[in-house]
């Protein structure tokens, strides 16, 4: 396969392929972080995660149209505002859903799965009624498209860099929130012992709601970012759901670090296999390997050993 190429060319290709793997990694991290917060910390299965992402994407679409129409001079920076608003919109919807639905179901995790699946159907239909069945094209500021030529041979997509930077910053933000803020301490306290946490004066109800909201908000930001690399349509959220869940479960549900490690290993495996095999087979093999490992090690990559 490589006989006809010079070393420089091969080096360049592998560098870019490594980069492609990193982009995929960032995409997985963005997809999975919100879910990891919700699933890992609250044990809630949010099957509507993809639809929360798409809400962020539609917010971005609306904001881009507003800027194009009224503030064309600021179009170059609209994306940041859009991401912020995406966070707010998805987060607010998340707060509402937690209040209306999820909080009644904490003792029945499998039922949250079904109820949120119902929610995802409803959201899809709402998107379809509001934005139409067709995909919408989100215009991206020029500076974010195109690529950065590092050498003659190596070109790095700018939106890839953007996604990577975003993934790192959001991971950091989540890390700081979880491990440095009062909220984070409360969430972890509740996760470990709900009754006790309530007894020492933590408002468990509000903390739960906020956790769910933040998880959904992060999904919204991810959806906003994905307008650069993917499609925005009523059913686009479904494309992400299986991958996302596998990343979280594979990482070990209780661990954010695990989520990141699992995103890394799955993305690298998939990206390398895609390079050497055909696309469909790469996907099947990746999924099979992940599921196979999960069968041998159901607790995922990272899991604390606990006294029962």
């Amino acid at each position: 396969m490589f006989a006809d190429y010079s070393m420089a060319e091969l080096g360049a290709i592998f560098a870019m392929q490594g980069f492609a793997g990193l982009i995929l990694f960032s995409v997985f991290v963005l997809m999975a972080l919100g879910l990891a917060i919700i699933f890992g910390q609250m044990g809630v299965i949010n099957m509507a995660h993809g639809e929360f992402m798409i809400l962020g994407a539609y917010v971005t679409y609306i904001v881009s149209n507003i800027f194009a129409a009224y503030l064309p001079s600021l179009f170059g920076i609209y994306f940041f505002i859009a991401m912020f608003l995406a966070f707010i919109a998805s987060g607010a919807l998340g707060l509402f859903i937690e209040w209306a639905m999820i909080r009644h179901l904490y003792k029945r995790p499998l039922d949250t799965l079904l109820a949120t699946w119902g929610l995802s159907l409803i959201l899809q239909q709402i998107y379809r009624s509001v934005f139409g069945a067709r995909e919408v094209g989100v215009s991206i500021p020029d500076w974010m498209m195109g690529s950065l030529p590092l050498t003659d041979l190596i070109e790095i997509p700018i939106n890839g860099i953007f996604v990577m930077v975003l993934a790192v910053s959001i991971s950091l933000a989540v890390y700081i929130m979880m491990f440095r803020s009062t909220w984070g301490r409360q969430v972890r306290a509740i996760n470990q012992n709900r009754v006790m946490a309530g007894a020492v004066g933590i408002n468990t109800e509000w903390t739960d709601r906020l956790t769910f909201g933040i998880g959904c908000g992060v999904a919204g930001v991810a959806g906003s970012a994905f307008t650069m690399i993917g499609s925005t349509g009523p059913t686009a959220g479904q494309l992400y759901i299986v991958d996302t869940f596998l990343v979280v479960v594979f990482g070990g549900a209780a661990s954010l670090l695990g989520t990141i490690a699992s995103a890394f290993s799955i993305s690298q495996a998939q990206s390398i296999m895609e390079f050497f095999l055909s696309g469909s087979m790469a996907k099947v093999i990746t999924l099979l390997v992940v599921v196979g490992i999960l069968m041998i090690r159901p607790q995922g990559l990272f899991a604390l050993k606990l006294r029962k």
Partner: protein, 375 residues
């Protein structure tokens, strides 16, 4: 030990009513087209019954029942496709005598693993055994390692995704995204005629009752009680000397076998099989059939499958744009307001009401001695 241990009078009445609905009311009330539709809905009931056992009784939620439905359906479709692909029917192909999609994909000979499907006996065995073997592999790997609950649900869902991608990707062998279509005869008997559809409906109904009776037997056996015990206190069951994994594997395999039979009947009645029945979405819909009917009740599962599908057809004919809202709302309503589904509604609301009415009339009769005595 008498039969009443396996079915009390109330349950017997429930079975008889369902039998009357399936074998008398529906055939009399509906034309062949609608009856065939109901036949299709009833094939989902096979899956829902399996789920009522696995999920309702055993607490094992599988989001991959579409896998087993699909495997059963594909086995049947392979047999029918081979029968439809006679050299005469496929004379225009480069290789006559093999299924058309194989010819389109440059296959020049029937793959070896298709060969046994020339035999109906083998196919009927495969319809049950292929899903069971799959379920056994998944169940063995997961349950002996004590994977359960949410993890099990997600991993089965991943399997459904994998199988769909595989079927679509290997289109030379599986018909790809189109599925296996244009099925015509079963041992020379044309399954597309109205008469055949009517007969298939009754065969389907009869098989459904066989499955229902098996399910009832299992539920009423000690194994049924063990499932409930496991759902509530898995450790206690273990320390009463049971190998919990084996029981879970068994019930999961049983559900898979039911689903396989349902899939085969689907293929026969609808006339094709396609990967859209294998994937994540149909698998979750099958769970909702069960949930709507009442996850604990096997009869409820049948009604759930019938009603949800009837609603789907009606709504999507009348208000197609609203259908998803309705279905989504149904999911949420069932989970939040009626966790025991229709069966729960019946036993919690309707039955007490009926009892009250009956006792009222009785007391009214008692209060009115002039009327004819009650007995």
């Amino acid at each position: 030990m008498t039969l009443t241990n396996y079915m009390n009078r109330k349950e017997l009445l429930g079975f008889l009513i369902l039998a009357a609905v399936i074998f008398i009311v529906l055939p009399l009330a509906l034309d062949t087209f609608r009856l065939n539709l109901f036949g299709k809905y009833l094939t989902y009931a096979f899956v829902a019954i399996g789920l009522a056992l696995c999920w309702g009784a055993g607490g094992i939620l599988s989001l991959g029942q579409g896998i087993f439905f699909g495997l059963g359906g594909y086995c049947m479709a392979m047999f029918l496709k081979l029968e439809a692909s006679t050299p005469e029917n496929t004379a225009i192909q480069s290789t006559p005598g093999i299924p058309d999609f194989m010819d389109w994909n440059q296959l020049t000979a029937l793959p070896i693993w298709w060969q046994p499907f020339h035999s109906l006996a083998f196919t009927m065995l495969a319809v049950v055994m292929v899903p069971v073997v799959f379920a056994f592999i998944i169940g063995f790997a997961m349950f002996t390692r004590r994977v359960g609950g949410v993890y099990f649900a997600i991993i089965t869902q991943a399997f459904a995704a994998i199988l769909t991608i595989l079927i679509i990707g290997q289109q030379g062998y599986t018909g790809g995204v189109n599925g296996i279509t244009d099925l015509r005869t079963l041992l020379g008997w044309d399954i597309r005629t109205d008469e055949a559809k009517n007969i298939l409906y009754f065969v389907n109904g009869a098989l459904l009752f066989v499955v229902l009776l098996i399910a009832q037997f299992v539920r009423k056996s000690k194994l049924g009680r063990l499932l409930i015990a496991m759902r509530d206190q898995e450790d206690r069951v273990r320390f009463s000397g049971y190998n919990v994994a084996n029981f879970k594997i068994f019930i999961f395999c049983l559900g898979a076998a039911f689903a396989g039979v349902g899939g085969a009947m689907f293929t026969l009645q609808v006339g094709f099989m396609s990967p859209t029945l294998v994937g994540i979405v149909p698998s979750i819909e099958m769970v909702i059939f069960c949930a709507v009917g009442g996850r604990l009740s096997i009869l409820g599962a049948v009604y759930g499958a019938l009603l949800v599908n009837l609603a789907k057809t009606t709504f999507s004919e009348g208000f197609p744009e609203l259908w998803l809202l309705g279905l989504g709302g149904l999911f949420i309503a069932v989970v939040m307001a009626f966790p025991n589904g229709l069966a729960g509604l019946w036993s919690e609301k309707v039955e007490p009401l009926l009892n009250r009415l009956i006792s009222k009339t009785q007391s009214a009769e008692a209060a009115n001695p002039n009327k004819a005595p009650a007995e």
